[in-house]
């Protein structure tokens, strides 16, 4: 049933007819617009608006009285004639009882319009003023109509529900009352059009149809409906937190076809369907110049409703579902979108399969897309191999099972493994302690640098030392000396490569006897003045030379010789090799 808010009566009647499983296109070939879909909230607006905009010609037309002018008709094409309108499935008796009351009301408006018309005779030229007055009236009218329709629209499914349900009074005490309120509206609207177009009362004629219709729906409803109590779990419809008391809202129920219809707007000329009304409007331009007017193309504006709208909730048409209004613990759905998503998720086939994992299936393509964003990217991994998309899920899993642990990402773990291996092989291979190092490091150290006596030499005989020596060292123009070593596998070269360099460069030549690719080597150097320097370098397994640098300042005491030890770990330090510094 159509739960449309500002839908003109004809629209609701139309959709109610569509509810009777008749194709709207077939039934209304003369109407280009058949706002069929209940989800389109603006459809009603559009009608109200267009009615408003077209009212001046309408009035002129009514001025010229009842002659169904071709032009007006074409302009008002989407203004359906209520007379032709088919059945509405409300209670005809109630409607009838209210018709007269509404008629009176409408007549009052009629009087005003007539007075305008008489004025119009006088001020034909002053079209602006006239238009303003007309607009005023029509605004009034549309306002009333919109109000009436909105309430009427909300009431319609309730009537149907009441008819359908075996126990009509279930939990909806307000429905009867609302019926009373709303039925006059429909009648008023009908009579309004009547009075505007021709003074004709076709209510009686309609009545039969209405009764028939209600009978029909009654028959439909009287079929025994097995109410299963299966609670479909769908938490995704955003209704769980809401605890509206059962009578405080209206419940609408859409039919399956409406829910599943791919298109909700149809061109009544060519029958093409659209998802959006705006697209339909664009499409309509191709059907004639009249659709190209700005008014026809404009988005129907929201007519501000002054009365507060009653809270409206939706029911799933699937009987037995928790979201179906017959369910004991009925939980209504909040919006039409919720209805659609719920129905597709819970009661339709899941036809979209994730192409990545090939296991997850979805009935809504958006869900699939959401899943595909995360699919295969479960970064929370347990040691058992299970992956999780969320950390708390992983920790829940780890807490649950004995022996499972969070797994650290692979790249880190690899580092750990390889380093372990390195340790092992290092331990097994051991440091070639018997390696013969032979150092004959040489640096030309100027004798001019002040000689500082060691601390141990005695107290009180210190000469304040300056670090000029260091500077001399750093800046002295030493030749790029490369001292080759006589008979060893290892040789040392001490060079100060260029001016300004603040470090002494040592170079050890020879083969490092080791299996690993790269490994750290610790080098200890101690000068004959007691200064110790430690440095560590990474070497290549097959490197012939190892070079390292020692800050010049380490040598401020002007050593004449140094001892150097190269080892793999601090533990292995033992053998020092002499290296003369001249």
């Amino acid at each position: 049933m159509v739960p449309e808010r500002r839908r003109p009566p004809e629209a609701s009647s139309k959709s109610s007819s569509s509810m009777m499983s008749e194709s709207p296109r077939n039934r209304k070939p003369d109407l280009p617009f058949t706002p069929f879909d209940s989800t389109n909230l603006w459809c009603g607006d559009r009608h109200g608006r267009s009615f408003l905009e077209f009212s001046p010609p309408l009035v002129t037309q009514s001025n010229g009285l009842f002659g169904p002018d071709r032009e007006t008709k074409s302009k008002n094409q989407h203004e359906p004639s209520p007379v032709d309108d088919p059945v509405m499935d409300w209670n005809p008796r109630l409607m009838l009882s209210n018709l007269s009351f509404l008629e009176q009301k409408i007549h009052q408006v009629q009087d005003i319009v007539r007075s305008i018309i008489s004025h119009e005779d006088q001020f034909l030229d002053q079209a602006n003023e006239l238009a303003a007055q007309q607009q005023l009236v029509t605004a009034d009218l549309t306002y009333i109509i919109i109000q009436l329709i909105s309430t009427a629209g909300t009431l319609l499914p309730d009537i149907k529900n009441a008819l359908l349900s075996t126990n009509p009074a279930v939990g909806r005490p307000g429905s009867n009352q609302k019926q009373h309120e709303i039925l006059p509206v429909e009648v008023a609207k009908a009579s309004q059009y009547d009075s505007l177009i021709k003074d004709l009362n076709s209510c009686g004629g309609k009545e039969d149809e209405l009764i028939k219709c209600s009978n029909n729906s009654g028959v439909e409803a009287s079929e025994p409906i097995p109410i299963e109590d299966h609670d479909t779990k769908d938490n995704d419809d955003g209704m769980d937190g809401e605890n509206l008391p059962p009578g405080s809202y209206e419940v609408l129920q859409l039919e399956e076809e409406e829910i599943l219809a791919p298109h909700t707007h149809f061109c009544l000329i060519c029958g093409k369907g659209f998802k959006r009304d705006a697209n339909l409007r664009m499409h309509m331009r191709g059907h004639g110049d009249e659709y190209k007017s700005p008014a026809a193309l404009a988005k129907p504006s929201k007519e501000a409703s002054i009365e507060p709208q009653p809270i409206r909730r939706y029911s799933c048409p699937f009987v037995g579902c928790k979201r179906n209004k017959e369910h004991k613990k009925f939980q209504p759905l909040k919006t039409i979108l919720c209805v659609k998503n719920h129905y597709k998720r819970s009661h339709c086939d899941k036809s979209y399969t994730c192409s990545r994992c090939r296991t997850k299936k979805f009935s809504i393509i958006a869900d699939l897309k959401t899943h595909e964003k995360h699919c295969g990217r479960d970064k929370w991994i347990c040691s058992c191999g299970t992956t999780f998309s969320r950390k708390d899920k992983l920790f829940g899993h780890v807490a649950l099972f004995q022996g499972h642990a969070p797994a650290i990402p692979m790249d880190d773990a690899k580092v750990l493994v390889t380093s372990d291996k390195a340790q092992v092989s290092e331990a097994s291979s051991g440091m070639p302690g018997n390696m013969d190092y032979n150092f004959s490091g040489n640096t030309s150290l100027d004798a001019q640098s002040p000689d500082l006596k060691g601390v141990d030499d005695g107290h009180g005989c210190f000469s304040p030392m300056t670090l000029d020596a260091c500077n001399i060292w750093g800046l002295a123009e030493f030749p790029h000396s490369a001292y080759e070593v006589s008979e060893s596998t290892f040789s040392f070269l001490a060079t100060v490569p260029f001016k300004g360099m603040e470090k002494i460069k040592f170079q050890a030549a020879g083969m490092m006897n080791c299996s690993e690719q790269h490994y750290p080597v610790i080098i200890y150097i101690r000068s004959n003045k007691g200064v110790q320097v430690e440095t560590s370098i990474m070497t290549d397994a097959h490197a012939r030379t190892v070079s390292f640098e020692v800050p010049v300042y380490s040598w401020h005491l002007n050593p004449t010789s140094a001892e150097i030890s190269i080892c793999r770990t601090q533990h292995e330090r033992g053998k020092y090799y002499k290296c003369r510094i001249t």
Binding site: K391, D392, F395, V398, A399, G403, H404, A405, P406, A407, I408, D412, A413, V415, L416, S419, D420, A422, Q423, E426, A427, L452, V455, D456, H459, G460, F462, P464, M465, T466, L467, D468, C470, E502, K503, P520, I522, Y524, G530, V531, Q532, E534, S536, P551, V552, Y553, S554, H556, L557, R568, T569, Q570, H571, E572, R573
Partner: protein, 724 residues
């Protein structure tokens, strides 16, 4: 056993050893429990020793004849002072070998000594690397290789340079490892945590400030180390409720859990409180824990004994009350720096029948609240509480006669009345701290000494204490720690009295006690043979004589004579020769101390770790001489007028073990950058200070040399004295 160490030092030559050995055993009739053998066996050996020693007295290789077990017995009795063991090991080879096999705890002084230490002590079970700043993975590998089966505990809290590889190596190879301290390893990753998780027998683990470790890492630890009893996750900002929750689920044996300053919320608390054996829980500064979370807790934690919820700023007293109601077995509770201590909170504290210690430092206290607390607690900390009044304090002490420890530091509202009630009711008080209780008069302070004879620790800093009070205090014969800094009225006479009776005193603080002269210090030195720490800062009256007399205190570890301008190198030399255990020395503003004094220091005080030389007359020479002190770690060298950049550079280079150096920032551009980098790479931290050179005018007030520091409050003090 201090004497025995000296004895060993004396007998590095052979002669006289027999007497020494006999002395040793005669003084240790009641052997303390020793770790390597059963008591029955030990006693038997103990009985046999004198005979054996006597029988072999004449033999030339007397020392070698002592069996290893006997040497172990001796070593067991040398636990008190590390230097004694050193002396022992230097007697001869067999002693050396015995010592190296006996020692269990090793604390290498520098990283480069680690290999030697490992080689020498193959059976060490406790390795404390807190003095080694650079510990590489290779070093850890050598540790795990050398101490594969024996290592039980390792402390890496101050070390850097290792990665998960080293940790993994330790965890895999050292199966006996029970304790790891990895605090401050700020760059330690989850992978390292996973490596820790492989040491299944781990019982105690400190991960304080391991900010890179996340839930994943702690999850691995929780699963791997299920025997954990102690876990410290202080400042682990990467770990959230999930990780803590998993720890609580997996490590059911946890006794002690420190979750201070972590971003945890109420979500993990139920699991934590369900730990069956949890006794000690610290939640200091957990700002994400709020009232709602605590009040909604339903779990009761019956095993909980110690709870520290200091500094939880989003928790009100109502929530504390509800927590307290859920921990009925609480013995110790800290609510410092929190909230208003009200009647309701106090009454829920009262329900805790086992409560022994309450710390309410820095809280706002109402009198009614205090009145209700007044129960049960054996120790109470009320330091820096606002709102502690006479009435409240009296009600506490009146109701609780057995109070052992009371801290009312900076409770400025209390007067003699409180003191009277404290001293009259709590006569068993062992520790009383009442720094800066300015309203208490000298008469009130006298009451302390008159009534509380069991006092062991007394802090009367910044009070109105006078000689009368000190004379009264001399009745407290058990006194170990006496802090009477900024008590401007005390004079030598009072100190002499204290020195006569309190022979157990180990620590005395005489900061800015201007009335003290050499006579007083001499009395101290004579009266307190066990003295370890003395603070004579700004006692401007003392001279070299004081230091000479203090040099008799051979146990002295810490000496502060900052701002004593009459002290010279001579005094320092005496100290250096006499107090060879000296570890911390502060001679800032001892203007007359020059290189000569420092040379003595460098020669004799080989245990010196920390020195402050600012404003002294020390030059490059002195500084370089200090480099021969291999233990030196911490130097403050500000405003040494005759120090040159090159001298400084040389000294820095020569001191291999430096960890922290405070320097004036004017040196920064003068010292070559590569040098600084090199030193920093060795594990030293430089702190550059930009303090202006203070010029002091020394004035004589009332026979006392007073140092005037214009901007400071001390000026007022001295002026007041002048007015008096």
């Amino acid at each position: 056993m201090a004497e025995s160490g000296d004895l060993f030092r004396r007998i590095r030559g052979r002669d006289g050893f027999a007497t020494v050995a006999l002395d040793l055993f005669s003084t240790t009739r009641n052997p303390s429990p020793c770790s390597y053998s059963g008591s029955a066996k030990r006693l038997r050996i103990g009985d046999a020793i004198p005979a054996a020693v006597v029988a072999e007295e004449d033999r030339r290789d007397l020392v070698d004849s002592l069996s290893e077990e006997i040497l172990f017995l001796i070593l067991d009795r040398l636990e008190s002072d590390p230097l004694d063991k050193k002396s022992f090991s230097l007697v001869c080879r067999s002693f050396y070998a015995a010592e190296s096999r006996h020692r269990r705890a090793v604390t290498p002084l520098r990283s480069d000594l680690l290999p030697a230490a490992l080689a020498r002590y193959p059976l060490a079970s406790r390795l404390d690397l807190s003095l080694c700043h650079r510990i590489t993975d290779a070093a850890l590998a050598s540790v795990s290789g050398a101490l594969r089966s024996s290592l039980r505990s390792i402390d890496l809290s101050r070390s850097r340079g290792f990665s998960q590889a080293g940790i993994g190596n330790l965890a895999v190879n050292c199966a006996a490892l029970v304790e790891i301290n990895l605090s401050n390893a700020t760059d330690l990753s989850d992978a390292a945590a996973a490596a820790i998780g492989r040491s299944r027998n781990l019982e105690r683990l400190w991960l304080a400030r391991c900010k890179m470790v996340t839930d994943m890492g702690i999850g691995c630890i929780a699963v791997g180390c299920q025997k954990l009893r102690l876990l410290c996750l202080k400042w682990c900002l990467g770990i959230s409720d999930l990780g803590v929750g998993l720890v609580a689920v997996k490590c059911k044996r946890l006794r002690s859990l420190d979750l201070s300053f972590m971003p945890i919320t109420k979500k993990c608390l139920p699991a934590v409180l369900q730990l069956p054996h949890l006794e000690d829980l610290a939640l200091v500064g957990c700002l994400s824990i709020d009232d709602e979370g605590l009040i909604s807790l339903k779990q009761e934690c019956k095993s909980l004994q110690v709870l520290d919820m200091s500094n939880c700023q989003h928790v009100s007293h109502a929530a504390f009350s509800s927590v307290l109601n859920k921990a009925p077995g609480l013995r110790q509770m800290s609510l410092a720096y929190n909230c208003l201590v009200t009647h309701s909170l106090a009454s829920s504290l009262q329900k805790l029948s086992k409560l022994q210690c309450i710390k309410l430092d820095g809280s706002e206290v109402t009198t009614s609240g205090l009145g209700t607390i007044a129960k049960l607690a054996l120790r109470e900390g009320l330091s820096k509480c606002s709102g502690v009044t006479d009435e409240g304090l009296s009600s506490i002490v009146m109701k609780h006669k057995g109070l052992v420890k009371l801290d009312v530091t900076c409770c400025r509202n209390i007067t003699d009345f409180s003191l009277a009630s404290i001293t009259s009711s709590c006569t068993s008080l062992a520790s009383l701290r009442m720094e800066s209780c300015t309203l208490v008069s000298k008469e009130g302070l006298r009451l302390i000494g008159q009534h509380c004879h069991l006092l062991e620790e007394l802090d009367l800093t910044d009070n109105d204490l006078d000689d009368e009070g000190l004379i009264a205090i001399s009745g407290c014969q058990k006194l170990c720690i006496l802090k009477i800094g900024i008590c401007l009225k005390i004079k030598d006479e009072g100190l002499i009295h204290v020195a006569k009776s309190c022979s157990k005193l180990q620590e005395i603080d005489l900061y800015r006690s201007l009335g003290i002269t050499d006579t007083g210090v001499m009395a101290i030195a004579r009266g307190f043979p066990l003295l370890q720490t003395i603070n004579l800062a700004y006692c401007t009256g003392i001279t070299d004589d004081s230091l000479r007399s203090l040099s008799k205190c051979s146990n002295l570890y810490t000496l502060e004579i900052r701002g004593c301008p009459q002290v010279s190198s001579l005094g320092l030399a005496a100290i250096a020769v006499g107090c060879q255990k000296l570890t911390n020395l502060d001679i800032k503003k001892c203007y007359h101390v020059n290189d000569a004094g420092i040379l003595f220091l460098a020669c004799f005080s080989q245990n010196l770790r920390q020195i402050n030389l600012s404003y002294c007359s020390v030059t490059d020479v002195g500084l370089l001489a200090l480099a021969s002190v291999s233990c030196l770690q911490n130097m403050t060298i500000l405003h040494l007028g005759r120090l040159t950049p090159s001298g400084l550079a040389a000294a820095l280079l020569a001191c291999g073990g430096l960890t922290k150096v405070k320097l004036h920032s004017s040196f920064k551009p003068l010292v070559p950058k590569p040098l600084l980098k090199h030193i920093e790479a060795r594990g030293c931290v430089f702190q550059w200070r930009d303090k202006p050179f203070q010029v002091f005018s020394l004035l004589w007030f009332k026979d006392t040399l007073v140092e005037l520091e214009p901007s400071e409050v001390w000026k007022q003090h001295s002026q007041e004295m002048h007015v008096d």
